[in-house]
Amino acid sequence: MDFTYDDEQQALREAVRGLLATAYADHEARRRTVADDPGFDRALWGRLAEMGVLGLPFSEADGGVGAGPVEIGIVCQELGRVLAPEPYLSGVVHAGGLVAAVGTAEQKAELLGRLSAGEVLLAAADTSPGDRWTSDADGVRASVADGTWTLDGVADPVMGGASADHLVVTAALPDGGTGVFVVDAAAASVTGYAAADLTRAATVRFEGSEATPLGEPGRDLSASIATISDLTRIMGANQALGVMQSQVRATTDYLKSRKQFGVTLNTFQALTFRAADMYVSLELAHSTVDWATMTIAGGDREVVADAADRVGLQVGRAARHIGQEAIQLHGGIGMTAEYAVGVGTAHLTVLEQWLGNAGHHLGRLSARVTDHELVDAV
């Protein structure tokens, strides 16, 4: 058991951090980027492709780099640190992950190579209005006639949907179960909007939209869909960790520099104790994120699903605590869009409600509480 990064992983972290610093050296740059379409920096996306970051999750045979979950987690943490609005989690980890999990060899080579090269953007459409983090679709239905598949229904929210070239859609199959389809963005009606953190989402309406089934047509893929959602949750927790680390750092820096009543705020124990509690939440979340990321390599779906619930609960609680306290300890400046701390809380809020909030994960864990005597870390 080992919680440390090796030299190559350290180098990856530094390279990604360095590249992101060129685009988002200060929060104002992020603010400008999300103010305009497409809501992220296409030039930066191209450089992430050149660096191999977009291909990290995919095998070399599929046109990727074939890295492990730890490496993907490192990238997500770094994106979180600077609140990067790039659709990495939605487009690469989630949508790309679905293609990699269920696509045929040809489909994977076709889509994932171009995704890794930054030539196409994908978005995962797996949620319809009224859905709450389920892996069986009911808001979008698939039909087949004369060997041609079409989709009908509404998906929303679709993270990164407005700039995607192809939508990776989960849809109810005619004979039961859930399939995964690729739809050209042009074959659907896509309406983009900004989420609470100003990253981009979309409403996608399908009306007889022509669709290509991924993998064997008509087969129920619910289990794979659930697993990719779990992987995305764990990577989302890595991204949230990066956000929270920045918030704790910004808050302690602020307490040391901001003066009121003629003294710096760290003079007041009422404030420093609350910062200490933020640090405790951060460290506990950090450990759980590292652990959950490491469970992926074992390849056991149930273990990963359990880890996703556990990290979802721990990080969900930490995100509320740290996100709220970061604003409170900053005071008014924490409420402003021009300051990263409060926007970080907005980003944590979006991650949480997109991927599954603490209550959802606690409910799932509660249902299983009598399945084991105790929970062992080792």
């Binding site: 919680f3 460290e283 590292d290 721990q314 409910g363 509660s366």
Partner: protein, 383 residues
């Protein structure tokens, strides 16, 4: 980063499990696993059994019985010990004064005390807190005055846990009242059978007798029982308190207490609110255990990592939270705490209220949780 145990560590773990479950008497282990009180003799017997296997003081220097283990191996040792219901080696000996003598003591002191401390031939008590020196330990007033080669000690210590069993007591005493308060403190080892030492019991809110006052009236202590430098006691105290902080984060024991509670809860487990409380506690304990593994608890020079404050702070909070859940599940049965043995109420439920009340101590001792927040905010966050 890697989750699995290496083959060597897996082998280490099964060796620990084997020793703990075959060498330590079943009756002692059952007492621990059922949450009942151990007698002094049982604690001594368990520690001597471990010591004979070289497992009582693995974190000490190798020449004094330590094992050159990794942090992970120490964690596995600790976990397996608790899983098997083996009493943890007496903290006053194994975690507090032993490492201090090994680090600061003279060769003569090491030879005289360390083997007997590891084997619990000497039961040590702690003489730090005083009525007017709690969190502000450095304001202690118990005085030691030179008289020839000896020291003459006068004053009062308090909260001396299990002092009724103590053979010797390690004390912080004021040896120079003229200087800054931290600079005039020394550590003295005192034989508790010396004339002038008196132990008086303190009854606690759980009805138990766990802590004591220790009074010193003209107690004569030979000069060779001063540990480390004269007036260097504060450095030693910080070293010891840091180790205590690491020692009092009871993750494994709390995990097992929660597990036992699940087995007692019966039909209460049908209540979704109960299930949610258990699930949340299990998750918080997992996060804490992972943090203990991730954060190196001790740097190479034996001083504790500042993040050990996180372990103490959160570990005691969770320990208390599990005791609260036990109390809530026990309900009216908890009122029978002091009923006779033929009470119709179950043992775990009758222990629930005293345990809950007793564990309020956990966020106070070992450096109160407010002191831990101060350490985190100052040492780690630089505030």
């Amino acid at each position: 980063m890697q989750l699995e145990l290496s083959p060597a560590d897996a082998e280490f773990r099964s060796r620990m499990r084997e020793i703990f479950t075959t060498k330590v008497p079943q009756e002692i282990r059952d007492t621990v696993l059922e949450g009942r009180h151990l007698t002094r003799d049982q604690i001594v017997e368990a520690q001597r059994t471990l010591n004979a296997e070289g497992l009582a003081v693995p974190h000490w220097p190798v020449e004094w019985g330590g094992q050159d283990w990794t942090e992970l191996q120490r964690h596995l040792w600790h976990e397996e010990m608790q899983r098997a219901g083996v009493p943890i080696p007496l903290a006053f000996n194994a975690s507090m004064i032993g490492p201090v003598i090994a680090h600061f003591g003279t060769q003569e002191q090491k030879e005289r005390f360390l083997p007997a401390t590891a084997n619990l031939d000497i039961w040590w008590s702690q003489g730090f807190s005083e009525p007017d020196a709690g969190s502000d330990l450095a304001s202690l007033r118990t005085s030691a005055v030179r008289d020839g080669d000896d020291w003459v000690v006068n004053g009062q210590k308090t909260w001396t846990t299990l002092g009724q069993h103590g053979d010797w007591i390690f004390t912080l005493v004021r040896t120079d009242p003229e200087v800054k308060k931290q600079a005039g403190i020394s550590m003295l080892l005192i034989d508790m059978t010396t004339p002038g030492v008196e132990v008086r019991p303190i009854e606690l809110i759980d009805g138990g007798h766990e802590v004591n006052e220790v009074w010193f009236s003209d107690v004569r202590v030979p000069g060779d029982l001063l540990v480390g430098d004269l007036n260097g006691g504060w450095t030693i105290a910080k070293f010891l308190l840091g180790n205590e902080r690491v020692g009092v984060a009871p993750v494994g024991a709390t995990k097992r207490a929660l597990s036992a509670l699940k087995s007692h809860a019966g039909a209460l487990l049908d209540d979704p609110l109960v299930r949610a409380r258990i699930a949340e506690l299990e998750n918080d304990l997992l996060a804490l255990e992972l943090t203990a593994l991730r954060v190196v608890a001790h740097s190479s020079d034996g001083a504790p990592h500042p993040a050990s404050s996180v372990l103490k702070l959160r570990g005691t909070e969770l320990q208390q939270a599990v005791s609260e859940l036990a109390l809530d599940l026990a309900g009216p049965a908890s009122l029978a705490a002091r009923a006779d043995d033929d009470s119709p109420q179950e043992g775990w439920a009758r222990r629930a209220a005293p345990t809950y009340l007793n564990l309020r101590k956990a966020s106070i001792y070992g450096g109160s949780n407010e002191i831990q927040r101060q350490i985190i905010s100052r040492t780690i966050l630089g505030l």
